[in-house]
């Protein structure tokens, strides 16, 4: 088992039911009162990092944002996101959101992923370059490579020739592919299909599609792909509805109007699937039934239940010719294959996957709706206009085993005290007061004992680095003094002492936490109440300490802070008290099961 690197996860207040309850009625603009209230609620209740809910509320510090107006931590789950830019992750071109509706959420240039291994596909010329004399001739004499072109995967060596597809031009592959079925058969695009139908309608002389004498183009319905079938069906039923509305002046009884073939249910279904305004509320017409589609032009298609072809193919190509469910799920929907409404079972039916677009998103605070993160819109820039990350507001906590106790073991020994050094680093430009609280024993089946040796301390402000450089001597002196305070032994081998800081620096403080890990044997005898005597569950051997952190600091009461409530003693001084409190979880390591 890999040794566990210590971690710190912080709980976002959004998942705390008490916070939700208390913040709803309270005014969002009075943050200090909320947190005060929250603290009262929290008294006597310990956060359990192993509770199933906790999975969804614990985040590493980097993932958390901070709302400057609510003075609260925000997590990826509670912020509301707004899309700033859509772009293709391969060609890095921006896609205007207007194109998204018409073209879908995939790149429509020449960016494709391999249907076999999802690696990127490249366009190469099939024709062999005229070689022998090429090398001798200067570069400009080299004729540009000419078609046909194919898509090729440089990782798994898949090529579009395997599905019988070649291209005439090396650019706008997406458009070319849309007109092609596997095997190189041309396929009508939606626009062409529409035009064709219009022509057919014009030929038959009437505006409505011909019903009696179908002008069959293909004869059998086998060449209907999903999109064409849908378009034909839609067109057919639209015609039927128009007919029904025209003829339905004589209102019949509404009885028997619930079948599939009734115009009313039809128009309802069609408005669901096409999203159009087919549903005419005024037309309360009742025609008993309508006829169904009869041929492929009307979208009729016989279900192909004969699978002997597929079986034969399976015999021929064997397992290698089939696709995996993962490859299938990567396929773009409605790729226009004949079989099984676009679902492919053979590798020869797979289509190159156009890249899914990616987004840049801005984030808003869920309570006050202020933007707390906003990237620049341009695809290629990595700058942010607004980026309020929690790491620049709340102290970071780093964990490491206390040096001096021999080499740090990979696992914690049960019932043997171990000491860890927690280093709190203050990111803000004010001195902060930190108060820690943790339960004496960890929650869960195996209660380890926890002692925070110094639960209350101050961290100096995050002053300029140059200040530190200039005051280096003073800083050193202070550190030494602290060292003398905390222990009599030499530095590094000193004894941790209750109530004393271990070490302190410009904007950081280290304190010691002592744990006595519990033995991981499930209790064999139950005392009165029913105890869980099951075997060790996943990650139950990880020693996790819940810790409540309260940070207090003073800020200049600026005029811009209109909504903020002044400090509790109501003095309208230049300084204003702030505090932030949250739960966090310290994962220290695995307890040995020996």
């Amino acid at each position: 088992m890999a040794p566990l690197t210590p971690y710190t996860f912080i709980q976002c207040p959004c998942s705390d039911p008490s916070t939700l309850a208390s913040s709803r009625p309270a005014d969002a603009s009075s943050p200090t009162s909320i947190s005060g209230q929250e603290r009262d609620d929290d008294d006597g209740r310990t956060f359990d990092p192993r509770a199933p809910r906790s999975n969804y509320s614990l985040y590493p510090l980097e993932y958390l944002l901070y709302c400057e107006d609510c003075h609260q931590i925000r997590c990826p789950r509670c912020v509301s996101e707004e899309i700033v830019t859509y772009y293709c992750p391969n060609c890095l071109f921006e896609v205007p959101s207007s194109n998204l509706k018409s073209e879908g959420n995939r790149c429509t240039r020449s960016c494709f992923q391999c249907p076999i291994c999802i690696g990127p596909l490249g366009v190469t010329s099939l024709e062999k370059p005229a070689d022998a004399n090429l090398l001798a001739a200067p570069d400009n004499a080299a004729s540009p490579p000419s078609g046909p072109y194919i898509l090729i995967c440089s990782y798994c060596n898949w090529s579009s020739t395997e599905i019988g597809i070649q291209f005439d031009k090396p650019n706008s592959i997406h458009a070319q592919l849309a007109k092609m079925r596997n095997g190189g058969v041309t396929r009508l695009t939606a626009k062409e299909r529409k035009e064709k139908r219009r022509e057919a309608a014009a030929q038959s002389g009437t505006g409505v599609p011909p019903t009696a004498a179908p002008t069959t183009t293909g004869g059998d319905g086998q060449d209907l792909d999903v999109e064409a079938q849908f378009a034909n069906l839609k067109h057919f039923y639209q015609g039927q509805l128009a007919d029904a509305n025209a003829a339905g002046a004589s209102s019949l009884s509404s009885l028997g109007d619930l079948g599939f073939a009734s115009p009313n249910s039809l128009s309802r279904i069609m408005s669901i699937y096409t999203g159009g305004s087919l549903h005419d509320k005024k037309a309360k017409t009742r025609v008993g039934t309508m006829r169904e589609a009869l041929d492929s032009d009307e979208g009729f298609k016989l279900a192909d239940l004969d699978e002997s072809g597929a079986i034969e193919k399976l015999h021929e190509e064997g397992y290698d010719g089939t696709v995996s469910s993962e490859q299938l799920s990567n396929q773009p929907p409605n790729v226009g294959e004949v079989q099984l409404h676009g679902r492919s079972r053979f590798a020869s039916e797979l289509r190159p996957i156009p890249y899914l677009l990616r987004t840049k998103r801005s984030k808003r605070c869920p309570i006050c709706r202020h933007i707390i993160s906003k990237p620049e819109a341009k695809v290629q820039t990595t700058r942010f206009r607004i980026r309020l990350v929690a790491g620049s507001y709340i102290p970071s906590i780093a964990i490491r085993p206390l040096p001096g106790g021999g080499p740090p073991p990979d696992t914690l020994q049960p019932l043997r005290p171990a000491q860890f050094l927690l280093t709190f680093k203050n990111p803000i430009f004010e001195t902060v007061k930190v108060t820690l609280a943790s339960p004496a024993t960890t929650p869960g089946r195996f209660a380890s004992k926890v002692t925070v040796l110094c639960p209350q301390f101050e961290i100096d402000a995050n002053t300029d680095v140059w200040d530190e450089a200039l005051n280096k001597d003073g800083d050193k002196e202070r550190r030494r003094r602290k060292g003398e305070d905390s222990g009599s032994g030499p530095a590094g081998g000193g004894q941790a002492e209750a109530g004393k800081i271990w070490e302190r620096g410009r904007n950081w403080v280290s304190i010691v936490v002592e744990v006595v890990p519990a033995s991981l044997r499930p209790p064999t005898i139950s005392f009165g109440k029913k105890e869980d005597t099951g075997p060790l569950r996943e990650d139950e051997d990880v020693l996790e300490i819940p810790m409540f952190v309260r940070v207090e600091w003073e800020v200049d009461a600026g005029g811009d802070e209109v909504g903020s409530v002044p400090s509790k003693d109501k003095d309208k001084e230049a300084k204003e008290k702030r505090e932030l409190a949250y739960w966090c979880v310290l994962g220290l390591g695995r307890v040995s099961q020996g």
Binding site: I116, C117, K128, D131, L135, I152, Y155, C156, N157, W158, S159, T161, E162, D320
Partner: protein, 192 residues
């Protein structure tokens, strides 16, 4: 530092100097490492990059025509068993052994036109067919037989290469070798 063209710290030439049989048209970098007691045969126009290792302790090493053996690869690594066979490793023609790939000795055969990807491992006695592609980090177990035109990708998935570009690939290899011959100062005499 500006005067120096390369910083190539010396490698302790451990073990005996193997008998070699080089074609006159090969390119072998000065800092390639050849060790072992069995013969090492390199056929025409093949290229051995700096810091490639050819170890013939486990048997004779044969490298075909127009092969490229990249830096840090090991051809003829003696595996855990340490057995000696007559033919340690045989590479066909147009074989590419990529960076940090390793081919164990023990009647191991790599077929013509096959590429052994970056960091890939071919076990002792494996027979890899012609025109195969082993993608980076692929592991071929000892004694395995891989049919011609197999592509091994994504942690052991297999498929057939149906591109039919053998000719083209071989030409590309020839072009690459022409360029490498100009770039890599060859010093076959050091090993002879």
């Amino acid at each position: 530092m500006s005067k120096r063209h390369s910083i190539v710290p010396p490698i302790s030439q451990a073990g005996p100097k193997p008998p070699v049989q080089f074609s006159s048209s090969i390119t072998i970098a000065d800092s390639a490492v050849l060790t072992g007691s069995n013969p090492i045969v390199i056929h025409s126009e093949s290229v051995v990059h700096p810091r490639a290792r050819l170890e013939s302790l486990g048997g004779r090493i044969t490298i075909g025509r127009r092969c490229v053996v990249h830096e840090r690869s090991t051809v003829g690594a003696v595996g855990t068993e340490g057995r000696v066979t007559e033919n340690g490793v045989t590479l066909g023609d147009y074989v590419t052994v990529e960076v940090a790939a390793s081919i164990e000795a023990g009647d191991t055969v790599i077929g013509d036109g096959t590429t052994v990807g970056v960091g890939a491992k071919v076990g002792r006695g494996a027979v890899v067919g012609k025109h195969c592609t082993l993608t980076p980090h692929t592991v071929v177990a000892a004694g395995e037989v891989i049919p011609d035109f197999t592509v091994i990708y994504s942690n052991g998935m297999r498929r057939m290469d149906k591109r039919g570009v053998v000719e083209l690939k071989n030409k590309g290899q020839a072009r690459q070798i022409e360029v490498l011959r100009r770039m890599i100062p060859s010093n076959p005499s050091k090993f002879q």
